[in-house]
Amino acid sequence: MTELTYREAIRGAIRKAMLADHRVFLMGEDVGRYGGCYGVSKGLLDEFGPERIRDTPLSESAFTGAGIGAAMGGMRPIVEIMTCNFSLLSLDQVMNNAATIRHMSGGQFHVPVVIRMATGGGRQLAAQHSHSLEGWYAHIPGIRVLAPATVEDAAGMLGPALDDPDPVLIFENALLYNHSEDVNEPVEVDIDHAVVRRAGKDLTLVTYGGSLGKTLAAADELGTDGISTEVIDLRVLRPLDDVTILTSLAKTRRCVIVDEGWRSGSLAAEIMARIVEQSFWNLDAPLARVCSEEVPVPYAAHLEQAALPSVAKIVAAGRAVMGR
């Protein structure tokens, strides 16, 4: 067992992949000399040099597209985009190129690129630095979308993502970088399935990424009310693992979804739709969800906190679903 931060876990995973496969390289803004805007790649420039730890200009569209091209050309690039807010400048490359090329080319070409980016609010960075856009990306066929919520997943997801023959996007909640846990190395993580983080029999809470901590805390609180709460961490936002969710629901028959994205058109909405399609007759209560309020994330601390999912809101939703 070693205690690692989420940041160190990702750095370790990048290092390991680069040592194992000369085709792997990292590129993005300030990944080299600055050490990464969240310090993830600190020290890697010294170890691997500027060819493989490649500082890019502020050109999200061009370097993401170059990552796609390099992947098609035989390399295994890891593209780092500082935050998902800036990934919108490269959305065209992800959506119109990375996600479509295998299909458009009739299966002749494929794009084994990994694109990592930070996501999430809670640090008073206001409306151009705080959004959670992973739900949007999970809309796109042709890519896989991952959201490591634990240090172990942060350590273990990059390897299989690089082995994936198709594009993989990894969303790292920025509040998690300093979070530390004991990890058993080497870590094996599969990037196909959700995981049950806490077992229970009365109520299922489904969440992912930065909301896992809040959701587990809410589950503990509900437990003190005598509500035995199961918590599912989706981990893979696309393709969604319906089976794990439905298996839990078959037992608990009640469910709240917690998602830091905005409510309308959210991942939470998609999960609700799937439950209703496949498990309607198993439900004992209407489904509920806790999402971000439909407002660009405000700067002022009290307003920002009110805009994001909170333990109190999750507990309240859980109680309501239980009829308490």
Binding site: E29, R33, G35, L58, R123, L303
Partner: protein
């Protein structure tokens, strides 16, 4: 019929104005840094210390009804455009008396009254907006200009190139001001640009372009007056690259691995306030008592701004969803 280019007269009054404006920015920023460590200001905080000559010189040439579009490093630009210091400070406190009602914070200062169009924290994100403001003016036949500030890091973004092309193609009254402080976060100019002469690069879009010493407030003012004069005469865009330097961290947390301490010290020695003050004292346009008065005046303004922010109020949480859309459709 072309009006004569107004001359910059460096008399005592004007020297006092230039110094006063630069000192306003410097002291305001220093106060922000202090308030940040006290956790009164949160989020990201990007200081303009070292670069004061640019906003100061440029603003001298703008009229009140000209528009300004700036970046997240914009406290000084807002101050000099006429946004009250108290409203800026209250914004950074997150109070509803702030110029963006506490919704924006340090990176998103807005003020309709003074035509200050933000506070944009997407690198290059403001440049197309400036082009659009100028387009609106042109279409409405309004004789005013839009000044757009951005760092040299923005030059690598597609939006920069698309915007320069549009402004030149459509002949729009935009003053593009590139604040080239040599680093985009930790990335030095020569690691991000194949052509490091930014004014030459801009010129390739077929617009008038000039590079100027951005540590020299007078040089910036003279160049801007010339550019603004030409824009008003012709309605066509101009590009100004101001070569400057940021003395502090990019934001508040930045160990600055990417540059040598000596380099920073060398630039501080060429600092815009130091250099201008020494020169003005030397030629006798400013006297020590001028400097004393300016400092006192600025200290008063800033302590009033802090008091205003301190006494500001928190917007009720019930208002969270306001201003997402119009209250009613008309």
């Amino acid at each position: 019929m072309s009006a004569a280019l107004p001359k910059v007269r460096l008399n005592r009054e004007h020297c006092r104005t230039l110094l006063h404006q630069m000192v306003r920015i410097r002291r305001f920023e220093e106060k922000c840094a202090e308030l940040y460590t006290l956790e009164k200001i949160r989020g990201f905080l990007h200081l303009y210390i070292g670069e004061e000559a640019v906003a100061t010189g440029v603003m001298q040439a703008l009229e009140p009804n000209d528009a300004v579009v700036a970046t997240y490093r914009e406290h000084g630009h807002a101050l000099l455009k006429g946004v009250p210091a108290g409203a800026i400070m209250a914004e950074m406190y997150g109070k509803q008396e702030g110029c963006s009602r506490g919704r924006g914070g340090s990176m998103h200062l807005f003020d309709a009254e003074t035509r200050f169009y933000g506070g944009n924290a997407i690198v290059a994100g403001g440049i197309p907006i400036a082009v659009g403001l100028a387009l609106a003016d042109k279409m409405a036949n309004k004789k005013r200009i839009t000044a757009c500030f951005f760092g040299e890091g923005a030059v690598a973004e597609g939006e920069f190139h698309e915007s320069l092309n549009l402004a030149a193609l459509w002949r729009l009254p935009v003053l593009f001001v590139c604040e080239n402080n040599r680093y985009a976060m930790g990335t030095a100019l020569d690691l991000s640009e194949s052509e490091t002469d930014i004014s030459a690069k801009a010129a390739s879009y077929n617009l008038a372009s000039e590079g100027v010493d951005g540590m020299d407030v007078v040089a910036v003012e003279v160049a801007t007056r010339r550019a603004v004069h030409a824009i008003r005469e012709t309605g066509e865009p101009h590009f100004l690259e101001c070569r400057t330097y940021r003395f502090r961290a990019h934001s508040m947390y930045d160990p600055q691995f990417y540059r040598a301490k000596d380099e920073v010290e060398e630039w501080k020695d060429k600092g815009p306030i130091k250099r201008f003050t020494e020169w003005a004292l030397d030629v006798g346009e400013l006297r020590p008592e001028d400097i004393e008065e300016i400092e006192q005046d600025v200290a008063r303004e800033i302590s009033e701004a802090v008091a205003f922010a301190e006494s500001g109020t928190w917007e009720p949480v019930e208002d969270l969803l306001r201003d997402v859309g119009a209250e009613k459709r008309i």
